[in-house]
Protein backbone atom coordinates (compact mmCIF):
# COMPACT_ATOMS: atom_id res chain seq x y z
CA UNK A 1 0.00 0.00 0.00
CA UNK A 2 2.64 2.50 0.97
CA UNK A 3 4.52 1.74 -2.18
CA UNK A 4 1.61 3.05 -4.19
CA UNK A 5 1.44 6.08 -1.96
CA UNK A 6 5.09 6.88 -2.49
CA UNK A 7 4.60 6.37 -6.16
CA UNK A 8 1.62 8.69 -6.09
CA UNK A 9 3.58 11.39 -4.29
CA UNK A 10 6.44 10.97 -6.65
CA UNK A 11 4.17 11.30 -9.66
CA UNK A 12 2.50 14.33 -8.17
CA UNK A 13 5.85 15.90 -7.35
CA UNK A 14 7.14 15.30 -10.85
CA UNK A 15 3.98 16.76 -12.31
CA UNK A 16 4.42 19.99 -10.39
CA UNK A 17 8.08 20.06 -11.30
CA UNK A 18 7.29 19.60 -14.97
CA UNK A 19 4.63 22.25 -14.89
CA UNK A 20 6.97 24.65 -13.13
CA UNK A 21 9.55 24.07 -15.86
CA UNK A 22 6.89 24.69 -18.50
CA UNK A 23 5.81 27.90 -16.79
CA UNK A 24 9.40 29.12 -16.67
CA UNK A 25 9.99 28.29 -20.32
CA UNK A 26 6.77 29.83 -21.59
CA UNK A 27 6.62 32.88 -19.33
CA UNK A 28 10.33 33.52 -18.79
CA UNK A 29 10.71 35.57 -21.97
CA UNK A 30 7.88 37.86 -20.88
CA UNK A 31 9.45 38.33 -17.48
CA UNK A 32 12.80 39.11 -19.02
CA UNK A 33 11.45 41.54 -21.57
CA UNK A 34 9.50 43.46 -18.93
CA UNK A 35 12.45 43.76 -16.57
CA UNK A 36 14.71 44.69 -19.48
CA UNK A 37 12.38 47.46 -20.51
CA UNK A 38 12.68 48.88 -16.98
CA UNK A 39 16.47 48.63 -16.78
CA UNK A 40 18.82 51.55 -17.06
CA UNK A 41 21.29 51.44 -19.93
CA UNK A 42 24.22 50.46 -17.73
CA UNK A 43 22.26 47.43 -16.49
CA UNK A 44 22.08 45.90 -19.98
CA UNK A 45 25.81 45.73 -20.16
CA UNK A 46 26.48 44.72 -16.58
CA UNK A 47 28.53 41.60 -15.85
CA UNK A 48 27.30 39.55 -14.10
CA UNK A 49 23.96 40.36 -15.68
CA UNK A 50 21.26 42.19 -13.78
CA UNK A 51 18.06 40.14 -13.89
CA UNK A 52 15.86 42.47 -11.89
CA UNK A 53 16.70 46.16 -11.98
CA UNK A 54 17.26 47.73 -8.58
CA UNK A 55 15.88 51.06 -9.70
CA UNK A 56 13.25 50.49 -12.35
CA UNK A 57 12.71 53.43 -14.66
CA UNK A 58 10.26 54.26 -17.38
CA UNK A 59 12.90 56.14 -19.34
CA UNK A 60 12.78 53.72 -22.29
CA UNK A 61 9.05 54.14 -22.65
CA UNK A 62 9.42 57.90 -22.61
CA UNK A 63 12.13 57.69 -25.21
CA UNK A 64 10.08 55.32 -27.35
CA UNK A 65 7.16 57.72 -27.24
CA UNK A 66 9.12 60.87 -27.91
CA UNK A 67 11.91 59.73 -30.24
CA UNK A 68 10.61 56.82 -32.21
CA UNK A 69 7.09 58.06 -32.76
CA UNK A 70 6.03 55.23 -30.46
CA UNK A 71 3.00 56.97 -29.05
CA UNK A 72 1.61 57.63 -32.47
CA UNK A 73 2.09 54.05 -33.61
CA UNK A 74 0.65 52.67 -30.39
CA UNK A 75 -2.43 54.81 -30.88
CA UNK A 76 -2.56 53.75 -34.54
CA UNK A 77 -2.67 50.11 -33.50
CA UNK A 78 -5.33 50.87 -30.95
CA UNK A 79 -7.42 52.89 -33.38
CA UNK A 80 -7.18 50.46 -36.27
CA UNK A 81 -7.92 47.44 -34.07
CA UNK A 82 -10.87 49.09 -32.36
CA UNK A 83 -12.50 50.35 -35.51
CA UNK A 84 -11.99 47.06 -37.35
CA UNK A 85 -13.40 45.22 -34.37
CA UNK A 86 -16.63 47.21 -34.40
CA UNK A 87 -16.88 47.14 -38.15
CA UNK A 88 -16.41 43.37 -38.26
CA UNK A 89 -19.10 42.92 -35.64
CA UNK A 90 -21.53 45.26 -37.35
CA UNK A 91 -21.18 43.48 -40.66
CA UNK A 92 -21.00 39.94 -39.32
CA UNK A 93 -23.91 39.97 -36.94
CA UNK A 94 -26.69 40.30 -39.55
CA UNK A 95 -24.99 37.67 -41.68
CA UNK A 96 -24.71 35.33 -38.74
CA UNK A 97 -28.35 35.97 -37.95
CA UNK A 98 -29.32 35.19 -41.48
CA UNK A 99 -27.47 31.89 -41.29
CA UNK A 100 -28.66 30.96 -37.81
CA UNK A 101 -32.31 31.76 -38.38
CA UNK A 102 -32.81 31.04 -42.03
CA UNK A 103 -29.91 28.71 -42.67
CA UNK A 104 -28.73 31.06 -45.34
CA UNK A 105 -25.80 29.55 -47.18
CA UNK A 106 -24.50 27.69 -44.15
CA UNK A 107 -22.49 25.23 -46.17
CA UNK A 108 -20.93 28.02 -48.15
CA UNK A 109 -19.77 29.66 -44.96
CA UNK A 110 -17.88 26.67 -43.68
CA UNK A 111 -16.18 26.19 -47.04
CA UNK A 112 -15.21 29.85 -47.10
CA UNK A 113 -13.90 29.65 -43.58
CA UNK A 114 -11.82 26.62 -44.42
CA UNK A 115 -10.45 28.20 -47.56
CA UNK A 116 -9.56 31.39 -45.77
CA UNK A 117 -7.95 29.44 -42.97
CA UNK A 118 -5.65 27.81 -45.49
CA UNK A 119 -5.08 30.77 -47.73
CA UNK A 120 -1.68 32.35 -47.09
CA UNK A 121 -2.01 36.07 -46.55
CA UNK A 122 0.82 36.53 -49.03
CA UNK A 123 -1.53 35.38 -51.82
CA UNK A 124 -3.95 38.16 -50.99
CA UNK A 125 -1.55 40.98 -50.33
CA UNK A 126 -0.08 41.16 -53.80
CA UNK A 127 -3.30 41.93 -55.69
CA UNK A 128 -4.56 44.04 -52.80
CA UNK A 129 -1.42 46.12 -52.89
CA UNK A 130 -1.87 46.87 -56.57
CA UNK A 131 -5.54 47.70 -56.08
CA UNK A 132 -4.82 49.92 -53.10
CA UNK A 133 -2.05 51.65 -54.99
CA UNK A 134 -4.46 52.45 -57.81
CA UNK A 135 -7.13 53.67 -55.41
CA UNK A 136 -4.73 55.65 -53.25
CA UNK A 137 -5.57 53.57 -50.20
CA UNK A 138 -2.01 52.71 -49.16
CA UNK A 139 -0.84 54.54 -46.08
CA UNK A 140 -4.42 55.21 -44.98
CA UNK A 141 -6.34 54.10 -41.93
CA UNK A 142 -9.38 53.35 -44.06
CA UNK A 143 -7.46 50.92 -46.23
CA UNK A 144 -6.19 48.93 -43.29
CA UNK A 145 -9.55 48.91 -41.54
CA UNK A 146 -11.24 47.56 -44.67
CA UNK A 147 -8.81 44.67 -45.04
CA UNK A 148 -8.90 43.71 -41.40
CA UNK A 149 -12.66 43.93 -41.19
CA UNK A 150 -13.20 41.71 -44.19
CA UNK A 151 -10.53 39.15 -43.44
CA UNK A 152 -12.08 38.42 -40.06
CA UNK A 153 -15.71 38.36 -41.17
CA UNK A 154 -15.86 34.59 -41.78
CA UNK A 155 -14.33 33.91 -38.40
CA UNK A 156 -16.67 36.31 -36.62
CA UNK A 157 -19.72 34.97 -38.44
CA UNK A 158 -18.84 31.41 -37.59
CA UNK A 159 -18.56 32.11 -33.87
CA UNK A 160 -21.66 34.30 -33.84
CA UNK A 161 -23.77 31.66 -35.55
CA UNK A 162 -22.95 29.37 -32.65
CA UNK A 163 -24.05 31.93 -30.11
CA UNK A 164 -27.22 32.73 -32.01
CA UNK A 165 -28.22 29.10 -32.26
CA UNK A 166 -28.02 28.82 -28.48
CA UNK A 167 -30.32 31.77 -28.18
CA UNK A 168 -33.97 30.96 -27.38
CA UNK A 169 -36.07 31.90 -30.38
CA UNK A 170 -39.18 32.39 -28.28
CA UNK A 171 -38.04 35.71 -26.83
CA UNK A 172 -37.41 37.06 -30.26
CA UNK A 173 -40.72 35.71 -31.47
CA UNK A 174 -42.56 37.65 -28.81
CA UNK A 175 -40.95 40.85 -29.99
CA UNK A 176 -41.83 40.09 -33.59
CA UNK A 177 -45.44 39.47 -32.69
CA UNK A 178 -45.50 42.86 -30.97
CA UNK A 179 -44.78 44.31 -34.39
CA UNK A 180 -41.05 44.77 -34.23
CA UNK A 181 -39.16 44.64 -37.50
CA UNK A 182 -36.44 42.00 -37.83
CA UNK A 183 -33.67 44.50 -37.59
CA UNK A 184 -35.26 46.10 -34.59
CA UNK A 185 -35.64 42.76 -32.90
CA UNK A 186 -32.03 41.94 -33.65
CA UNK A 187 -30.77 45.18 -32.18
CA UNK A 188 -32.98 45.54 -29.15
CA UNK A 189 -33.79 41.95 -28.20
CA UNK A 190 -31.12 39.63 -29.49
CA UNK A 191 -28.06 41.81 -29.07
CA UNK A 192 -28.37 42.49 -25.36
CA UNK A 193 -28.69 38.80 -24.63
CA UNK A 194 -25.85 37.56 -26.81
CA UNK A 195 -23.67 40.49 -25.75
CA UNK A 196 -21.18 38.21 -23.96
CA UNK A 197 -20.80 36.18 -27.13
CA UNK A 198 -20.29 39.32 -29.12
CA UNK A 199 -17.64 40.42 -26.67
CA UNK A 200 -15.77 37.17 -27.31
CA UNK A 201 -15.88 37.73 -31.04
CA UNK A 202 -14.88 41.35 -30.60
CA UNK A 203 -11.89 40.51 -28.46
CA UNK A 204 -10.69 37.90 -30.93
CA UNK A 205 -10.93 40.22 -33.86
CA UNK A 206 -9.26 42.96 -31.83
CA UNK A 207 -6.26 40.82 -30.98
CA UNK A 208 -6.07 39.44 -34.50
CA UNK A 209 -5.91 42.92 -35.96
CA UNK A 210 -3.48 44.04 -33.31
CA UNK A 211 -1.15 41.14 -34.06
CA UNK A 212 -1.33 41.26 -37.85
CA UNK A 213 1.95 42.01 -39.57
CA UNK A 214 2.08 41.28 -43.31
CA UNK A 215 -0.73 43.59 -44.40
CA UNK A 216 0.54 46.23 -42.02
CA UNK A 217 4.12 46.14 -43.23
CA UNK A 218 3.10 46.36 -46.87
CA UNK A 219 0.20 48.81 -46.69
CA UNK A 220 1.28 51.31 -44.05
CA UNK A 221 3.36 54.40 -44.55
CA UNK A 222 5.04 56.83 -42.24
CA UNK A 223 1.81 58.07 -40.65
CA UNK A 224 -0.09 54.82 -40.35
CA UNK A 225 2.48 52.32 -39.07
CA UNK A 226 1.33 49.99 -36.34
CA UNK A 227 3.27 48.65 -33.36
CA UNK A 228 4.14 45.51 -35.30
CA UNK A 229 5.81 47.56 -38.01
CA UNK A 230 7.53 49.82 -35.51
CA UNK A 231 9.27 46.85 -33.94
CA UNK A 232 10.93 45.92 -37.22
CA UNK A 233 12.85 49.20 -37.17
CA UNK A 234 14.75 47.94 -34.14
CA UNK A 235 16.22 44.96 -35.94
CA UNK A 236 19.02 46.78 -37.70
CA UNK A 237 22.40 47.11 -36.11
CA UNK A 238 22.68 43.64 -34.67
CA UNK A 239 21.12 41.78 -31.82
CA UNK A 240 22.74 43.88 -29.14
CA UNK A 241 21.44 47.31 -30.00
CA UNK A 242 18.27 49.18 -29.17
CA UNK A 243 17.57 47.09 -26.08
CA UNK A 244 15.68 49.83 -24.32
CA UNK A 245 13.20 50.96 -26.91
CA UNK A 246 12.81 47.55 -28.48
CA UNK A 247 11.91 45.91 -25.18
CA UNK A 248 9.52 48.72 -24.31
CA UNK A 249 7.75 48.32 -27.63
CA UNK A 250 7.54 44.55 -27.22
CA UNK A 251 5.95 45.00 -23.80
CA UNK A 252 3.36 47.34 -25.25
CA UNK A 253 2.85 45.03 -28.19
CA UNK A 254 2.08 41.93 -26.11
CA UNK A 255 -0.05 43.67 -23.49
CA UNK A 256 -3.40 43.08 -25.22
CA UNK A 257 -2.53 39.42 -25.70
CA UNK A 258 -2.29 38.99 -21.94
CA UNK A 259 -5.66 40.60 -21.35
CA UNK A 260 -7.34 38.59 -24.07
CA UNK A 261 -5.78 35.29 -22.95
CA UNK A 262 -7.31 35.76 -19.51
CA UNK A 263 -10.67 37.03 -20.64
CA UNK A 264 -11.17 34.39 -23.30
CA UNK A 265 -9.85 31.29 -21.56
CA UNK A 266 -12.85 29.17 -22.43
CA UNK A 267 -12.75 30.04 -26.10
CA UNK A 268 -9.02 29.88 -26.69
CA UNK A 269 -8.98 26.50 -28.40
CA UNK A 270 -11.75 27.43 -30.78
CA UNK A 271 -10.32 30.85 -31.51
CA UNK A 272 -6.80 29.62 -32.09
CA UNK A 273 -7.91 26.70 -34.22
CA UNK A 274 -9.90 28.99 -36.45
CA UNK A 275 -7.04 31.39 -36.76
CA UNK A 276 -8.70 34.09 -34.75
CA UNK A 277 -5.45 35.47 -33.42
CA UNK A 278 -3.19 36.05 -36.32
CA UNK A 279 -3.31 37.11 -39.89
Amino acid sequence: MSRYRVQGWLAQGLTYLGLAAALIFFLGPFFWIVTTSLKGNEDFFAHPPVWIPAEPSLAHYTRLFTHSNGLRYFLNSLLISTVSMFAALAVSLPTAYSIARWRFGGGFLSVLLLVLRMLPAIALIIPLYIMYKALGLTNSYLGLVIVYTVVYIPFAVWLLVGFLRDFPVEIEEAALIDGCSRLRALVSVVMPIIAPGMAVVALFSFIATWNEFLFAVVLTGIETKTMMVLVTTFTSGGTDTFYGEASASVVLGVLPAFLVAFLLQRYLVKGLALGGTKG
Binding site: P29, R103, I122, L176, L214, A273
Partner: protein, 302 residues
Protein backbone atom coordinates in the same frame (compact mmCIF):
# COMPACT_ATOMS: atom_id res chain seq x y z
CA UNK B 1 -35.69 21.88 -38.39
CA UNK B 2 -36.23 25.17 -36.62
CA UNK B 3 -38.45 25.05 -33.71
CA UNK B 4 -41.09 27.56 -34.65
CA UNK B 5 -42.94 29.40 -37.30
CA UNK B 6 -40.52 32.24 -37.05
CA UNK B 7 -38.27 30.71 -39.62
CA UNK B 8 -41.10 30.39 -42.09
CA UNK B 9 -42.61 33.78 -41.46
CA UNK B 10 -39.70 35.58 -43.04
CA UNK B 11 -39.89 37.87 -45.97
CA UNK B 12 -38.19 36.45 -49.04
CA UNK B 13 -35.58 39.19 -49.34
CA UNK B 14 -34.58 39.34 -45.73
CA UNK B 15 -31.91 36.62 -45.60
CA UNK B 16 -30.19 38.22 -48.57
CA UNK B 17 -30.45 41.70 -47.16
CA UNK B 18 -28.97 40.61 -43.87
CA UNK B 19 -26.14 38.68 -45.42
CA UNK B 20 -25.35 40.99 -48.30
CA UNK B 21 -23.03 43.53 -46.63
CA UNK B 22 -20.50 40.93 -45.65
CA UNK B 23 -20.90 38.96 -48.86
CA UNK B 24 -20.33 42.11 -50.84
CA UNK B 25 -17.24 42.99 -48.85
CA UNK B 26 -15.84 39.46 -49.11
CA UNK B 27 -16.39 39.49 -52.85
CA UNK B 28 -14.64 42.82 -53.12
CA UNK B 29 -11.69 42.32 -50.80
CA UNK B 30 -11.07 38.59 -51.04
CA UNK B 31 -12.65 36.94 -54.05
CA UNK B 32 -11.96 39.63 -56.61
CA UNK B 33 -8.31 40.14 -55.59
CA UNK B 34 -7.71 36.41 -55.76
CA UNK B 35 -9.15 36.28 -59.24
CA UNK B 36 -7.14 39.33 -60.17
CA UNK B 37 -4.00 37.66 -58.79
CA UNK B 38 -4.61 34.70 -61.05
CA UNK B 39 -4.99 37.03 -64.02
CA UNK B 40 -1.78 38.78 -62.99
CA UNK B 41 0.08 35.51 -62.72
CA UNK B 42 -0.40 35.05 -66.46
CA UNK B 43 1.10 38.44 -67.30
CA UNK B 44 4.59 39.86 -66.92
CA UNK B 45 3.68 42.76 -64.67
CA UNK B 46 6.93 44.01 -63.24
CA UNK B 47 6.48 47.21 -61.28
CA UNK B 48 10.19 47.82 -61.03
CA UNK B 49 10.48 47.87 -64.81
CA UNK B 50 7.39 49.85 -65.61
CA UNK B 51 3.61 49.99 -65.57
CA UNK B 52 3.12 48.14 -68.87
CA UNK B 53 2.63 44.42 -69.12
CA UNK B 54 1.51 41.74 -71.52
CA UNK B 55 0.11 38.23 -71.51
CA UNK B 56 2.80 35.57 -71.16
CA UNK B 57 0.74 32.46 -70.52
CA UNK B 58 2.13 30.02 -68.03
CA UNK B 59 5.73 31.15 -68.25
CA UNK B 60 5.77 32.49 -64.70
CA UNK B 61 4.73 29.06 -63.48
CA UNK B 62 7.31 27.26 -65.56
CA UNK B 63 10.01 29.65 -64.38
CA UNK B 64 9.08 28.92 -60.76
CA UNK B 65 8.94 25.19 -61.27
CA UNK B 66 11.95 24.67 -63.50
CA UNK B 67 14.24 27.64 -63.36
CA UNK B 68 14.05 29.04 -59.85
CA UNK B 69 16.37 27.30 -57.43
CA UNK B 70 15.64 29.84 -54.76
CA UNK B 71 11.93 29.01 -54.77
CA UNK B 72 12.61 25.30 -54.42
CA UNK B 73 15.16 26.11 -51.76
CA UNK B 74 12.46 27.95 -49.86
CA UNK B 75 10.14 24.95 -50.14
CA UNK B 76 12.86 22.76 -48.68
CA UNK B 77 13.61 25.27 -45.90
CA UNK B 78 9.96 25.42 -44.98
CA UNK B 79 9.87 21.65 -44.67
CA UNK B 80 13.07 21.65 -42.63
CA UNK B 81 11.46 24.04 -40.18
CA UNK B 82 8.04 22.36 -40.16
CA UNK B 83 9.08 18.80 -39.38
CA UNK B 84 11.02 19.34 -36.14
CA UNK B 85 8.66 22.11 -35.02
CA UNK B 86 5.60 19.91 -35.41
CA UNK B 87 7.23 16.93 -33.74
CA UNK B 88 8.37 18.95 -30.75
CA UNK B 89 5.10 20.83 -30.45
CA UNK B 90 3.17 17.58 -30.46
CA UNK B 91 5.40 15.83 -27.91
CA UNK B 92 5.75 18.80 -25.57
CA UNK B 93 2.11 19.73 -25.93
CA UNK B 94 1.06 16.19 -25.13
CA UNK B 95 3.36 16.06 -22.12
CA UNK B 96 2.07 19.28 -20.64
CA UNK B 97 -1.53 18.40 -21.39
CA UNK B 98 -1.10 15.06 -19.59
CA UNK B 99 0.36 16.85 -16.59
CA UNK B 100 -2.43 19.39 -16.55
CA UNK B 101 -4.97 16.60 -16.82
CA UNK B 102 -3.83 15.09 -13.52
CA UNK B 103 -5.57 16.05 -10.31
CA UNK B 104 -3.60 19.15 -9.49
CA UNK B 105 -4.18 22.45 -7.80
CA UNK B 106 -4.57 25.75 -9.63
CA UNK B 107 -5.17 24.08 -12.96
CA UNK B 108 -7.25 26.91 -14.53
CA UNK B 109 -4.75 29.59 -13.71
CA UNK B 110 -1.84 27.48 -14.92
CA UNK B 111 -3.63 26.68 -18.15
CA UNK B 112 -4.37 30.33 -18.69
CA UNK B 113 -0.79 31.35 -18.04
CA UNK B 114 0.58 28.70 -20.36
CA UNK B 115 -1.84 29.75 -23.06
CA UNK B 116 -0.38 33.22 -23.44
CA UNK B 117 2.40 32.68 -26.00
CA UNK B 118 0.15 31.79 -28.96
CA UNK B 119 -1.92 34.91 -28.33
CA UNK B 120 1.14 37.04 -28.93
CA UNK B 121 1.95 38.21 -32.42
CA UNK B 122 4.76 36.25 -34.12
CA UNK B 123 6.58 39.53 -34.67
CA UNK B 124 6.58 40.37 -30.98
CA UNK B 125 7.52 36.83 -30.00
CA UNK B 126 10.39 36.93 -32.45
CA UNK B 127 11.58 40.31 -31.25
CA UNK B 128 11.60 39.21 -27.63
CA UNK B 129 13.58 36.12 -28.56
CA UNK B 130 15.89 38.01 -30.84
CA UNK B 131 16.86 40.12 -27.88
CA UNK B 132 17.19 37.05 -25.68
CA UNK B 133 19.52 35.53 -28.28
CA UNK B 134 21.67 38.68 -28.14
CA UNK B 135 25.31 37.69 -28.24
CA UNK B 136 26.52 39.73 -25.31
CA UNK B 137 23.53 41.17 -23.55
CA UNK B 138 20.90 38.54 -24.28
CA UNK B 139 19.32 36.51 -21.51
CA UNK B 140 20.20 33.10 -22.91
CA UNK B 141 23.90 33.69 -23.32
CA UNK B 142 24.09 35.40 -19.94
CA UNK B 143 22.34 32.51 -18.27
CA UNK B 144 24.46 30.00 -20.14
CA UNK B 145 27.58 31.88 -19.16
CA UNK B 146 26.59 31.98 -15.50
CA UNK B 147 25.89 28.28 -15.54
CA UNK B 148 29.08 27.65 -17.46
CA UNK B 149 27.26 26.02 -20.37
CA UNK B 150 28.44 28.11 -23.29
CA UNK B 151 31.47 29.84 -24.63
CA UNK B 152 32.11 33.53 -24.07
CA UNK B 153 30.87 34.42 -27.50
CA UNK B 154 28.09 32.32 -28.90
CA UNK B 155 26.06 33.58 -31.84
CA UNK B 156 22.68 31.96 -32.30
CA UNK B 157 22.60 32.81 -35.99
CA UNK B 158 26.17 31.91 -36.89
CA UNK B 159 25.50 28.96 -39.20
CA UNK B 160 22.49 27.69 -41.14
CA UNK B 161 22.06 24.79 -38.71
CA UNK B 162 22.11 26.90 -35.55
CA UNK B 163 19.77 29.43 -37.13
CA UNK B 164 17.24 26.76 -38.01
CA UNK B 165 17.47 25.48 -34.45
CA UNK B 166 16.89 28.99 -33.12
CA UNK B 167 13.89 29.49 -35.40
CA UNK B 168 12.42 26.12 -34.41
CA UNK B 169 12.97 26.94 -30.74
CA UNK B 170 11.02 30.19 -31.02
CA UNK B 171 8.31 28.51 -33.06
CA UNK B 172 7.99 25.73 -30.48
CA UNK B 173 7.80 28.28 -27.70
CA UNK B 174 5.17 30.22 -29.60
CA UNK B 175 2.80 27.43 -30.55
CA UNK B 176 3.26 24.46 -28.24
CA UNK B 177 0.61 25.91 -25.90
CA UNK B 178 -1.90 25.76 -28.71
CA UNK B 179 -1.23 22.07 -29.19
CA UNK B 180 -1.44 21.65 -25.45
CA UNK B 181 -4.85 23.32 -25.28
CA UNK B 182 -6.22 21.20 -28.10
CA UNK B 183 -4.90 17.99 -26.56
CA UNK B 184 -6.10 18.95 -23.10
CA UNK B 185 -9.60 19.41 -24.49
CA UNK B 186 -9.25 16.00 -26.14
CA UNK B 187 -8.05 14.37 -22.93
CA UNK B 188 -10.90 15.81 -20.93
CA UNK B 189 -13.42 14.33 -23.31
CA UNK B 190 -12.18 10.78 -22.66
CA UNK B 191 -14.64 9.11 -20.25
CA UNK B 192 -13.06 8.40 -16.86
CA UNK B 193 -14.92 5.06 -16.64
CA UNK B 194 -12.55 3.60 -19.19
CA UNK B 195 -9.59 4.24 -16.92
CA UNK B 196 -11.41 2.92 -13.90
CA UNK B 197 -12.33 -0.24 -15.76
CA UNK B 198 -8.74 -0.67 -16.91
CA UNK B 199 -7.43 -0.15 -13.42
CA UNK B 200 -9.87 -2.75 -12.11
CA UNK B 201 -8.43 -5.13 -14.70
CA UNK B 202 -4.99 -4.43 -13.29
CA UNK B 203 -3.62 -2.26 -16.07
CA UNK B 204 -0.55 -0.17 -15.29
CA UNK B 205 -0.73 3.60 -15.92
CA UNK B 206 1.53 3.07 -18.92
CA UNK B 207 -0.79 0.44 -20.36
CA UNK B 208 -3.86 2.61 -19.93
CA UNK B 209 -2.03 5.49 -21.60
CA UNK B 210 -0.97 3.28 -24.51
CA UNK B 211 -4.25 1.43 -25.01
CA UNK B 212 -6.84 4.03 -23.98
CA UNK B 213 -5.49 7.57 -24.09
CA UNK B 214 -3.48 7.43 -27.28
CA UNK B 215 -6.04 5.71 -29.51
CA UNK B 216 -8.79 8.01 -28.32
CA UNK B 217 -6.60 11.07 -28.70
CA UNK B 218 -5.48 10.24 -32.22
CA UNK B 219 -8.14 12.24 -33.95
CA UNK B 220 -7.54 15.33 -31.81
CA UNK B 221 -3.84 15.04 -32.46
CA UNK B 222 -4.40 14.79 -36.18
CA UNK B 223 -6.55 17.92 -36.16
CA UNK B 224 -4.01 19.82 -34.10
CA UNK B 225 -1.12 18.73 -36.30
CA UNK B 226 -2.99 19.65 -39.44
CA UNK B 227 -3.84 23.13 -38.20
CA UNK B 228 -0.26 23.76 -37.16
CA UNK B 229 1.06 22.40 -40.44
CA UNK B 230 -1.12 24.76 -42.44
CA UNK B 231 -0.03 27.67 -40.24
CA UNK B 232 3.61 26.77 -40.53
CA UNK B 233 3.46 26.98 -44.31
CA UNK B 234 2.67 30.66 -43.78
CA UNK B 235 5.63 31.30 -41.50
CA UNK B 236 6.62 34.89 -42.16
CA UNK B 237 6.71 37.37 -39.25
CA UNK B 238 9.02 35.19 -37.19
CA UNK B 239 11.51 34.94 -40.04
CA UNK B 240 11.25 38.61 -40.90
CA UNK B 241 12.44 39.58 -37.43
CA UNK B 242 14.74 36.73 -36.44
CA UNK B 243 16.86 36.05 -39.50
CA UNK B 244 15.42 37.87 -42.51
CA UNK B 245 15.81 34.54 -44.28
CA UNK B 246 19.49 34.13 -43.50
CA UNK B 247 22.21 33.10 -43.13
CA UNK B 248 22.31 32.97 -46.90
CA UNK B 249 18.86 31.58 -47.61
CA UNK B 250 18.85 28.99 -44.86
CA UNK B 251 15.62 30.10 -43.22
CA UNK B 252 13.91 31.62 -46.22
CA UNK B 253 10.40 30.16 -46.14
CA UNK B 254 8.02 30.10 -49.09
CA UNK B 255 6.00 33.00 -47.70
CA UNK B 256 9.12 35.03 -47.07
CA UNK B 257 10.55 34.31 -50.51
CA UNK B 258 7.28 35.38 -52.12
CA UNK B 259 7.32 38.55 -50.05
CA UNK B 260 10.82 39.36 -51.27
CA UNK B 261 9.85 38.74 -54.88
CA UNK B 262 6.75 40.89 -54.46
CA UNK B 263 7.99 43.74 -52.32
CA UNK B 264 11.74 43.90 -52.86
CA UNK B 265 11.87 43.02 -56.55
CA UNK B 266 8.29 44.19 -57.22
CA UNK B 267 7.73 41.37 -59.71
CA UNK B 268 4.01 41.35 -59.13
CA UNK B 269 3.08 38.74 -61.70
CA UNK B 270 5.77 36.34 -60.64
CA UNK B 271 4.90 36.76 -56.97
CA UNK B 272 1.26 36.04 -57.81
CA UNK B 273 2.28 32.86 -59.58
CA UNK B 274 4.37 31.83 -56.59
CA UNK B 275 1.52 32.46 -54.22
CA UNK B 276 -0.78 30.33 -56.34
CA UNK B 277 1.76 27.54 -56.27
CA UNK B 278 1.88 27.82 -52.48
CA UNK B 279 -1.90 27.63 -52.26
CA UNK B 280 -1.92 24.54 -54.46
CA UNK B 281 0.87 23.01 -52.41
CA UNK B 282 -0.94 23.58 -49.13
CA UNK B 283 -4.12 22.19 -50.62
CA UNK B 284 -2.40 19.03 -51.81
CA UNK B 285 -0.63 18.63 -48.50
CA UNK B 286 -3.88 18.94 -46.59
CA UNK B 287 -5.67 16.48 -48.85
CA UNK B 288 -2.89 13.93 -48.61
CA UNK B 289 -2.85 14.28 -44.86
CA UNK B 290 -6.61 13.79 -44.65
CA UNK B 291 -6.47 10.80 -46.99
CA UNK B 292 -3.73 9.08 -45.02
CA UNK B 293 -5.63 9.77 -41.84
CA UNK B 294 -8.82 8.34 -43.23
CA UNK B 295 -7.12 5.24 -44.59
CA UNK B 296 -5.43 4.61 -41.26
CA UNK B 297 -8.76 4.97 -39.48
CA UNK B 298 -10.37 2.58 -41.91
CA UNK B 299 -7.59 0.07 -41.34
CA UNK B 300 -7.94 0.47 -37.57
CA UNK B 301 -11.67 -0.11 -37.86
CA UNK B 302 -11.13 -3.22 -40.00
Amino acid sequence: MFRSAIALKRKQWEPYAFASPSLFLIALVIVFPLAYAFYLSLQNFDLAVGPDYEFVGLSNYTEALFRDGRFWGSVWNTAVIIVPSLTLELLLGLGIALMLNRPIRARPIMTALLAIPPMVSPVMAAMAWRMMFGVKYGAINNLGLQLGLIDVYFDWFATPLISVIAVVLVEVWHNTPFMMLVLLAGLQSIPQELYQAAKADGATPWQSFWYITLPLLKFTMAVGVMIRMIDLTKLFGLIFILTFGGPGGATETVAFNTYLVGFNDFRMSYASALSYLIVIGVLVLTLVFMLVQRRREARAAA
